[in-house]
Structure formats: structure tokens, C-alpha cells
Symmetry: C2
Subunit: 146 residues, 2 copies
């Protein structure tokens, strides 16, 4: 979708995905090999009483759910940044996540003629309706004239 | 390392890792299946002229390099948040990344007696010494009395 269509105020609800214990382990082994993600014994003494998904994992999965809406399609040119990510609640094996996405701003880019800057707010929640993470991100997106 | 040892001003330099084309594809297929990461033809017409690693991938890899220093060890209790992530430059297949980490703040937690809040600034650079991403993050970390 070109940036002109991703108007401020538009909202999207993604599909959902279950986070399995295998997913948690596979991600953590590559990107976040801490006991709290991989070691049942150690995690039992941690604040959550069991292993939890890496926050980098739940972040990336939230982004995947957004990509799967097809709203960006082939029009994202580059990711610019990410702000105010808060891991509000832990994500456990078996949790099902889905994401609400709101367009905060969409405007022509000053430095990339024909393209625009789109700012999004994402909020992922689990099967209990509890928010697990929130963040904002900005991307450079093709314009309808591009 | 307990939060008391992760004193403000301490700096760490991580080891390095090469991002291969296979790594880029494997991550993007699961978490960020956009043409700019997966489609050589489409990416050739994008701003970088070729496929680039997902920003979520380079973020997670930067975190992995930090974890591999062993500085947190088994003492991280939970990730709290992440701020001001900027994807400053693209990461291409074959790039070698390493990360500088500075402790910005380390103080006792008000809500978790015995634990502390540690704030870190991470800055990843490539084999040319160019910064590719920067961000700040905060974690809850065990204390020496815990």
C-alpha cells in the first residue's frame, strides 16, 4: 500500500499465531540464549516461575503478523526506527498473540521525493486480551507517484 | 553479573558475527517476509540496489552478541523495554557486525526488592566501522543480595 493510502487513523487487526515451546527455544538458541528462555530449572526460580519467550522474539513475531496483513505489500522501502517498546507482560509457551496496528502519521518524505514516512503504533495481546507488548515504528514507504 | 557490578559508565565490546545471505533469508522468511529482504529482483529497484537484512534481524543479532559477552550471565530477570532504535545503515549479506555496549544507569528497583534496573546503550557497527544501528534498552537484573 502506498503511503498516501496508509492514512493517519487507519487501524488494522492482524491474524494470530501461537508461540510454541519449540518456537521459544529455537529463537532463544540463536538470538537470546539466556536461562530465562531456555532453562526450565533456572526459570522456575525467576519472577515468572517458568521460561518465557525472548522479548526480541515476541517483537519480531508481532511484526510478522503485521506484514501478513499485506497492508505494506511490496511498498516498504526501509525501516527507519522503533521507539517506546515496552514488554508489558511475559509470553509463555502456548500463548496466542495478535496485534492491533494504528497509523499515527503518514506524510511525504523530505529527503526521498515520491516516498513517504509512515509511523505506526503496534500493540500485541494474548488470548486473554492482555497486552503483552507495545511499540511505535517508522518506515519509508513508496508513494503513488513512485 | 549482578546489577551492582554493572555500574554506569562500564563499556563492553562484543565479538563479531558475519550475516550471511542464508541468515538473512532464514530470518526474513519467518519474521519479515518483505521483498526487500527476500526478492533480489524487487530489491534491485529499491533504495539499496540489493536485498538487506531485516532490521528485526540485525537488532536480535546485536543482542545476541551482547549476551555472548557473558556480562549478564544468568542474572537478567526480565527485559523491560527498548527505546530510540535507529536503523542507521543497511546490513548486507557478508557484513560482519560487532557491538559496543555502555551501561547508562544501574540502580535498585523500587518494585522488586533485591533486584536492579540496568539501562544499556548498544551501538552495532559493520566491518567498515560504520554504525548500522543504535538503541537503548532496560532490564531487571538480580542484585548481589538476591
Amino acid at each position: 500500500m502506498r503511503f498516501q493510502e496508509l492514512r493517519a487513523g487507519r487501524r488494522f487487526l492482524t491474524g494470530s499465531a501461537v508461540v510454541t515451546d519449540g518456537d521459544i527455544r529455537a529463537f532463544a538458541e540463536v538470538f537470546d540464549p539466556q536461562p530465562i528462555h531456555l532453562d526450565f530449572g533456572a526459570a522456575a526460580h525467576g519472577p515468572f516461575g517458568r521460561t518465557i519467550a525472548s522479548g526480541y522474539h515476541t517483537l519480531a513475531l508481532s511484526w510478522r503478523l503485521w506484514i501478513d496483513t499485506g497492508a505494506l505489500g511490496a511498498d516498504a522501502l526501509a525501516g527507519l526506527g522503533l521507539d517506546e517498546l515496552r514488554w508489558v507482560r511475559p509470553v509463555f509457551a502456548g500463548d496466542r498473540l495478535s496485534v492491533e496496528v494504528e497509523v499515527l502519521e503518514s506524510r511525504p518524505s523530505a529527503s526521498h521525493p515520491g516516498a513517504g514516512i509512515v509511523r505506526l503504533a503496534l500493540s500485541a495481546h494474548n488470548q486473554h486480551g492482555e497486552v503483552v507488548l507495545t511499540y511505535r515504528t517508522a518506515a519509508l514507504v513508496r508513494g503513488s507517484g513512485g
